[in-house]
Each structure stands twice: as structure tokens, then as C-alpha cells.
């Protein structure tokens, strides 16, 4: 028998299954992983440092670019932190809009995860289907904020503007004829709420379709059942949150346990796994999308009935109406001060955590009373989950590393910050 050697291989930084830029150094004994050492930081943009040089309002768009699969959820945490420091109230309608879009974002993030996770371990069709649905939801993002991925829609004190009454429509061109555009525009005749209602009417059916492709699929089960098992006590010690913790059987969801915005008024269930393996976490995420659908329906119903302001009337924080700026001297001054110097945040420090699609995403903000943050610390779930990679991968085959990468749900925007 020939001499057996241990190999050290590089996984990434450019690897299709690395979900971004991850350099993973694997020490192998044959095909079995003995040690995994992730090298991160290839996408480090110094968001925390940059935030210290920008005014409180200018930091909002940076949040989109952290976890670029959960854009509005990131903004939400930051806005909640600033609001908590300022001690201001957010109008109820704005809170419902935020919850609505948080859940849309959760669906977007889970669709991306399930599609790419399945894609990584061999089920190529999934990503095509999930991207079809993601596309429709990006249109909702676009309608409300003008941007498909980095909306900067939430502001400290509320949201930038109310939900639009009309949806942008397709126009016939040389690629799409009249009949085709009419088809595409069918759901876009009404307001944004009609559009979302229509989408979430058919979305449970889409989830069923995904499940017929994966849930009982033999290959999918062979690749995920019993892979990356994390018992509940280890999950707690490793700092797991979100679906990673729930997959291990701990019913912990910040939306329920430490409710923020209007989650305490909404009716939804928290799916919990049993075995703590990749398959259970997949099932949890699948069910979370259905629960998000429930939440969104309740939000749509509430939003239809209750018009009102969507941003605080405190002009020390939020700008006054455009027309008033032109007639009222004081509003003009407010507007000028807000967009030159920015608002000042009282001295203090807060730690605000929310249930992001990936787990607990938190902002620890320190203010010394200036118009800029003194320190913004971004606690991302992906960073902590990835740090458990070594423990999870040990003893698994090299092909399972890809399955683990998928189930960890890492996005390098928020791992590297």
C-alpha cells in the first residue's frame, strides 16, 4: 500500500459554491475533512469605520450593502437603533410597512438560500424557479423605493414615502409583443398592495412546487440528512441564532420573544427542527416562508384600512414636506440643517437586535451627542455562523463542505462588513 498523505486544499476565494469570496483552507485525510480554516475579509469594506465619518442619516445606505440578501432588514435594525437613541416614536403605519417589507425581504433571502443551496448540491432547476419569484418581489422593491436591491427606504423616524398607488408597467418592444406585455401587466393594474396580495396568493403554491422538487427527493435527503448536525447545547455555545438555532430544536425567535415594531400584534408560528442537521434547517426555512406569507397578508389587510403618516412629524429628525419648505422659513431651516449638518443624537449607547432572515442581526451604536455616530458595531449572524464552520465540517467528506456552506446561509457582505 502506498504512503498516505494529508492534503491541504484551498476552497475559493473564487468558487461557485463559496457564496461570495471565501477562502477556505481544508486539511484533508483522504476525502475526510480534518480541519477547516475559513479566511474571510476579502470583501471587507470597513463599514464600521466609514459609518463614523458619515452623519447618522448617511449611514442608512451602507446598511443595504451589508447583507445584500436582507437589505431592508438591515436598514430596519439601524433605524431602530437610531430611534431608540433619539427616543422618538414611529407612526404605526410606518411600522406596518416596515414589517411588510421585512417579511418580503425574508422571503427573498430564503428563496435565494434554498435556490443556491440546492444548486450547490446538484438540483439545478431550483435556482431558476426561486429566481422567478425573487424577480417579482424585486419589482415590489423597485415600486416602493426606485431601487431593486439597495433601496434605502427606511429612515430614522419612519419610511421615506408611502406605498405607491400604481405599479410600473411593461411596454411592448421588439422582444415583447402586445399580448405578452398585457399578460405581464395583469397583476400590475392596481396598487402595490394589490400586486403583493396577488403574489402572495400564488406564493404558497410555489412553495409546494419547491417541496415536490426537494423535500422527498432521495438525492437531496442523502446530501442533507445527518449532515452538519449541531446539538442544541452546542448551537447555543457557538452563538447560533435564527433558523440555525431553531433547526436544532430551540424555539427562539426575536419577533416573538423580544418583539419589535408590530410583531406582537401579528399572528404567526415559529417552525422548529428536531435533529439540527441541514435537512431540518431547510425545512425550517421553507416553513418560515409560509409564515411570512401569513404575516404579509395581515399587514396588507391592516395597511388597506389605515391610512396615515409614514414618517415622524419631528422635523429635527425627518425633513418637512417639500411644499412647506417653499413657504415656511422654519421648515426651510430644518431642511437645510438636516441635509447639511444632520441631526444630533443624544449621548448614550444602545444594542438593538432583530430577527434577520439569517439570525440575529444587531446594531450596537454609541453616540457622544454628535451629528455622526461615535461607534457603530454591526453584529451579523453570518460571521458567527461561519466561525462554527470548523466544528461542523470536521469528520465530514469534502463534498459535504458545500452542503454546509449552503446551510450556514452566509453572505459575505455581512460577514466581512
Amino acid at each position: 500500500m502506498s504512503e498516505i498523505r494529508n492534503y491541504t486544499i484551498n476552497f475559493g476565494p473564487q468558487h461557485p459554491a463559496a457564496h461570495g469570496v471565501l477562502r477556505l483552507i481544508l486539511e484533508l485525510d483522504g476525502e475526510v475533512v480534518e480541519r477547516a480554516d475559513p479566511h474571510i475579509g476579502l470583501l471587507h469594506r470597513g463599514t464600521e469605520k466609514l459609518a463614523e465619518t458619515r452623519t447618522w442619516l448617511q449611514c442608512v445606505p451602507y446598511m443595504d450593502r451589508l447583507d445584500y440578501m436582507g437589505m431592508m432588514c438591515n436598514e430596519h435594525v439601524y433605524c431602530l437603533a437610531v430611534e431608540k437613541l433619539l427616543g422618538i416614536e414611529v407612526p404605526e403605519r410606518a411600522q406596518y410597512i416596515r414589517v411588510l417589507f421585512d417579511e418580503v425581504t425574508r422571503v427573498l433571502s430564503h428563496l435565494m438560500l434554498i435556490g443556491s443551496h440546492a444548486f450547490d448540491i446538484g438540483a439545478m432547476t431550483m435556482i431558476l424557479y426561486t429566481f422567478r419569484e425573487r424577480e417579482a418581489l424585486f419589482d415590489a422593491y423597485e415600486a416602493v423605493s426606485g431601487a431593486r436591491m439597495h433601496p434605502a427606504y427606511y429612515r430614522p423616524g419612519g419610511v421615506y414615502r408611502d406605498l405607491p398607488d400604481t405599479m410600473p408597467k411593461y411596454k411592448p418592444n421588439r422582444f415583447k409583443n402586445e399580448a405578452r406585455t398585457k399578460d405581464l401587466n395583469a397583476a400590475r393594474e392596481g396598487s402595490l398592495l394589490d400586486y403583493l396580495e396577488d403574489f402572495f396568493e400564488r406564493f404558497p403554491k410555489c412553495c409546494d412546487d419547491y417541496e415536490t422538487l426537494l423535500t422527498e427527493n432521495r438525492i437531496w435527503k442523502q446530501r442533507t440528512v445527518g449532515i452538519g448536525v449541531v446539538p442544541a447545547d452546542r448551537a447555543l455555545a457557538l452563538g447560533f441564532t435564527g433558523p440555525m438555532l431553531r433547526g436544532s430544536g430551540i424555539a427562539w425567535d426575536l419577533r416573538r420573544k423580544q418583539p419589535y415594531a408590530v410583531y406582537d400584534r401579528l399572528d404567526f408560528d415559529i417552525p422548529v427542527g428536531k435533529n439540527g442537521d441541514c435537512y431540518d434547517r431547510y425545512l425550517c426555512r421553507m416553513e418560515e416562508m409560509r409564515q411570512s406569507t401569513r404575516i404579509i397578508r395581515q399587514c396588507i389587510e391592516w395597511l388597506r384600512k389605515n391610512p396615515g403618516p409614514v414618517i415622524t412629524g419631528d422635523h429635527k429628525v425627518a425633513p418637512p414636506k417639500r411644499e412647506k419648505i417653499k413657504t415656511d422659513m422654519e421648515d426651510l431651516i430644518h431642511h437645510f440643517k438636516l441635509f447639511s449638518e444632520g441631526f444630533h443624537v443624544p449621548e448614550g449607547e444602545v444594542y438593538v437586535a432583530t430577527e434577520h432572515p439569517k439570525g440575529e442581526f444587531a446594531v450596537y451604536a454609541i453616540s457622544d451627542g454628535a451629528n455622526k455616530p461615535y461607534r457603530i458595531r454591526l453584529r451579523s449572524a453570518g460571521f458567527v455562523h461561519l466561525s462554527a464552520m470548523d466544528e461542523m465540517a470536521r469528520g465530514h467528506m469534502i463534498a459535504d463542505v458545500v452542503a454546509l456552506m449552503g446551510t450556514l446561509d452566509v453572505v459575505f457582505g455581512d460577514v466581512d462588513r
Partner: protein
Amino acid sequence: MSAKLERLSQILRIVLGGRLRSLTKDRGEIMIEVGAEDYLAAARTLRDHAELRFEQLMDICGVDYSAYGNVACEPGRRFASVLHMLSIEHNWRLRLKVFCPDDNFPAVDSVCDLWPSANWQEREAFDLYGIMYSGHTDLRRILTDYGFVGHPLRKDFPVSGYTEMRYDAETERVIYQPVTIEPRENTPRVVREAGYGDTGHV
């Protein structure tokens, strides 16, 4: 919520006793400060004590207080390591702050043995602030480039950094050179006294 916070602060006062340097309640959050010499023992108590049970360490981050409020800080109050803990059993959170006694060589004990999740977070605080965690077995840089010099989140580190990287056509490789961009500040940082500009206008 406030009754719960009250209970937590009472338990903390009893359990930590003389090790507690300060306890502040602000905006519905509790922050305690302990000395660097008591830090590890206090952290162990917080995790294991039946009435506290902080079984999850959410976050460790460094803070550099050298420019807080645009005034210099006292010696021994520059670098802090801030821990955020969560108890799933009791459903409460706690912030634990520990200052590094020596500003020139900031060091505190590592809590890796208590919570494995501290590993990367301490590496990050070391990388960005240069806080040494004694007892940490693998204190490498994590976010910055291989061979990076300095600790970028310190307040005396410029936003533009010291070196930049570019492709050099002559040598046909990527080279490092001193930065050529000029730092630019669009909005100056202003700290106003409390209540500035208040006229009762909402």
C-alpha cells in the same frame, strides 16, 4: 419589562458584589462594568449562575474612547472590550464592559473557553483595535489583508489608510504604495451642548 430589568440588576448586584464597578440602566438596557482583573471570573459567574444563565455570547467588540465627545480620555479608559450576552432561559440581555488597563498595550483575558463563539469576535477586536486577549489560542488577524500593519478602527487611524494597492503595468504585478488620495471631510463632526436649538418647535 422594567420590573424584569430591576430584578436582573438586583441579582447582578448580589451575585457580583464587589466585582461590580458600575451598573447603569439606560433606555431599557443594563450595562455593567468590571475591572480587567475580575473579568474572567465575572464572565464565568454570569454564564453559570442559575439565576443569570447567560448561555449565549452574542457579540464582543472593541471600542476606542480616545476621541469621545472630542476630548481626550483618562489613562486606562481608552480601549474597552464590550460583550453582549443573552439568556435564552430568562430572556434578558446584558452588556458587560471591561477597560484595558494599559493604553499602550491593551490586553484583557479571553473568554473563548467559556463561549466558543468568542473566538472569531476576539480575533476581530484584536485585528481592528489591537486588543490582546490573553489565553486566546489563535489570535490572528481576520478581516484585514494578509500582512496588514496597524489597527484600522482606532481613532488615530485615517479612513483612507496608509497604503494602497494597484496593478503596476511595468512590473506586471500588483504593488503596494503609500496612499495618494487626500482625505476629505464633507460634513464636519460637531458635538453640540444638550438642548441646542430647542425652541419647543416640533
